[in-house]
Symmetry: C2
Subunit: 415 residues, 2 copies
């Protein structure tokens, strides 16, 4: 059983926004054993929408459509739906009351006819309650094909997916399980890895697929399998992944399904009741920000000093001016001083620091563009590591943030 996702909206097609809704929906569907055959982004246009609905219905059994539902003139979807399904609009009393309730509670401007019209729904639709907004979700069928129509606003769509759409799919369709295991590697290119694991790959059982996913200097290896016995699938994928450790264990960094690296670090620190701070220069607070995406970060993260300017390193972090003059601000010595000092200043067990030259120009230091030092301070001492991260500013920053998390992760595992 396969599904498709259709996103309606001109703003995607002019590149004004990135379509993140599809990734969310696809991930959720996968988790209940539904594979996504295709994702299509179409214009807010009757004909285009109708063609897309038609074609998708010929290929797949579940079609999830987002966007095109809203109170203003650029939303032509409902009439297009009535045409497609041979239906007419009727007023849904529960939806109308919900809209009026939302306006009374949260919205200062008075309710208008435009808003009330959002309570009009195709008569054959099953209405899906949108707790966070005025546009109801709709479930309609054409033969055996289910179409779900959802608003495009991300948090409204996500709520409808988890509270209504997934349960209805699970009630209505038989589904196999889909499992993935993704190994994170770094330090070796795609084809070098492929050569090393060639015989292992050639002996993979037929029901397990391998995909190579390279990005920013690291390669993810994704094993996937689909079937009816979830335990057996997980066991077989797990078994095959294990076989890779003797072959390329030195470059395996972690497993994606265990959670993001920052959440793994967070789990570890929470268990050990240890704390963390960062002192960041060119990474501008990205490491701190990523740490704080984990719920419960306040259990172990005390804060950060983003010492973007050299003088801030000296004034706030207490890095000796002489040290900067002697070794330059992009140096092992300064990275170590930053890490150690923020650790003492904020009173934490661990600290990470970054100082480097992200480019495009050399700035305050003599170091080549792309030269970066990452410092790690722990109860056992402080070290710093040098890297050459290339000459593309945004990538230098991203790679350095990833590397900082890697080094911190490896370090704290020793405690």
């Amino acid at each position: 059983m396969q599904a498709e996702i259709i996103t309606i909206g001109d703003e995607i097609l002019i590149g004004q926004i990135v379509d993140s809704n599809s990734a969310f929906i696809a991930k959720e569907l996968n988790q209940i054993g539904v594979s996504v055959y295709q994702i299509t982004s179409v214009q807010d246009d009757r004909e285009h929408i109708t063609n897309a609905l038609q074609e998708a219905g010929e290929r797949s059994s579940v079609i999830i459509v987002t966007g095109g539902l809203g109170p203003t003139k650029d939303d032509v979807t409902k009439e297009t739906l009535c045409n497609f399904f041979g239906d007419t609009l009727v007023q849904d009393q529960a939806v109308l009351e919900h809209i009026e309730e939302l306006f009374k509670k949260y919205i200062t401007t008075p309710i208008s006819d435009l808003n009330r019209r959002q309570a009009l729904v195709p008569s054959k639709a099953t209405v899906l309650h949108n707790a966070f907004g005025t546009a109801p979700g709709l479930w309609m069928k054409k033969g055996d094909v289910s179409y779900f129509f959802l608003p495009g606003v991300p948090y409204e769509m996500k709520n409808l997916i988890t509270s209504s759409v997934l349960p209805k799919i699970m009630e209505t369709y038989e589904r196999p399980y889909i499992v993935h295991k993704t190994l994170l590697t770094y330090g070796m290119g795609e084809s070098a890895i492929a050569e090393k694991i060639e015989s292992w790959e050639n002996s993979l059982p037929r029901h397990i697929k391998l995909a190579y996913l390279p990005n920013l200097g690291r390669v993810r290896l994704r094993l996937s399998s689909k079937g009816v016995d979830r335990e057996a699938l997980l066991a077989s994928v797990e078994a095959e992944a294990k076989k890779l450790y003797p072959i390329i264990g030195d470059i395996i960094y972690g497993e994606e399904e265990d959670g993001t690296i920052e959440s793994q670090i967070g789990k570890f620190l929470t268990q050990k009741q240890m704390t963390l701070a960062t002192a960041e220069s060119f990474t501008g607070g990205r490491i701190a920000e990523q740490i704080t995406t984990v719920p419960g970060a306040s259990n172990y993260f005390k804060g950060s000093v983003v010492s973007y300017a050299t003088e801030t390193k000296i004034k706030v972090l207490g890095v000796p001016e002489a040290l900067v003059e002697q070794h330059s601000v992009v140096s092992e010595e300064v990275a170590m001083a930053m890490a150690e000092n923020v650790r003492n200043l904020l009173g934490t067990d661990f600290a990470v620091s970054t100082t480097g030259n992200a480019g495009p120009t050399k700035g305050d230091s003599d170091a080549d563009v792309g030269t970066v030092y990452i410092g790690i301070s722990t109860p056992r001492g402080t070290t710093a590591h040098k890297f050459a991260m290339g000459n593309h500013r945004e990538r230098v920053v991203k790679k350095s943030v990833s590397k900082a998390f890697e080094l911190l992760y490896k370090e704290i595992l020793n405690f």
Copy 2:
């Protein structure tokens, strides 16, 4: 003349990554007057790819395809291409030398046959030089339809788009201009705005389209027009947008095409030779990070103290413990102290602070979940503003970051 984008890759269809390549390509195409009719994400599968290429070619004149080009077993694209175009693979000497050069210079593992095979290209293809990677881009034609095949790795794809694909499209096809003007508004919902501007909207000339784009409590109003005379288009869109200021000027916040708010702030501070710092609690460094995305931020941004823990506010920012005890850490008083103190500590002209309760639990303070204070400190004094940002943690953070930039922007305009 319209284009389509096809992205090849199972990782998009399982929701493991968000497709940001399409947004980039669509935006670039729009800027040279090419509208994107549809974006389709398909599996790494011969039949699926072939069908997608066929269908797209029946609808549009330029098809840009990303993904599916790489040295390992999961890339079936080149053979699929040969089938589709009735062609055979030949070795391209320049590509082979480029691959060998890249290995010699940058890659520590020795070159393999898998890599050398990346120099095999369809004989009828025009090869597009991929300076940043081993997979060459390919340009092939079927009748009047141009197909561009590019690697999926974002920085390789982006470089190929700007250095090869766009110039070739501009040389080959007549294109009209597409212009947009997007007004940023806040404080009023979509339908309330629609009612206020109804007569203005009804009198829009036929060649100008309006779209309402609501997100996170603010609505963007996008005017778009397409035609052959760029000056005239810009003038007419500009004129229509100007008419909105007397009607809803109090909620218009800025214009998207002027650049992001952080870049506008940066431009202003650079001109005035004034500086900025942030003191962030629950926003975790996001404001600092967003500031540093602007090239040249080091001209005006001195740094940040991410005082995530209450004790860090006291210890590093010098917020009096008595103040915290008296008013609670989520308070106007603490927000003002944070802003003023970081301003003095880092020696800047301006500072922004955030303290609040993002949820899900109340944490260190009595304040309701979603209660947030944003402080702004300037040479003329310090103020703080209270907001109720809802009860969804991620959204509270995002809305607060946006609001902080808004308040800072409005404030610095007075200098």
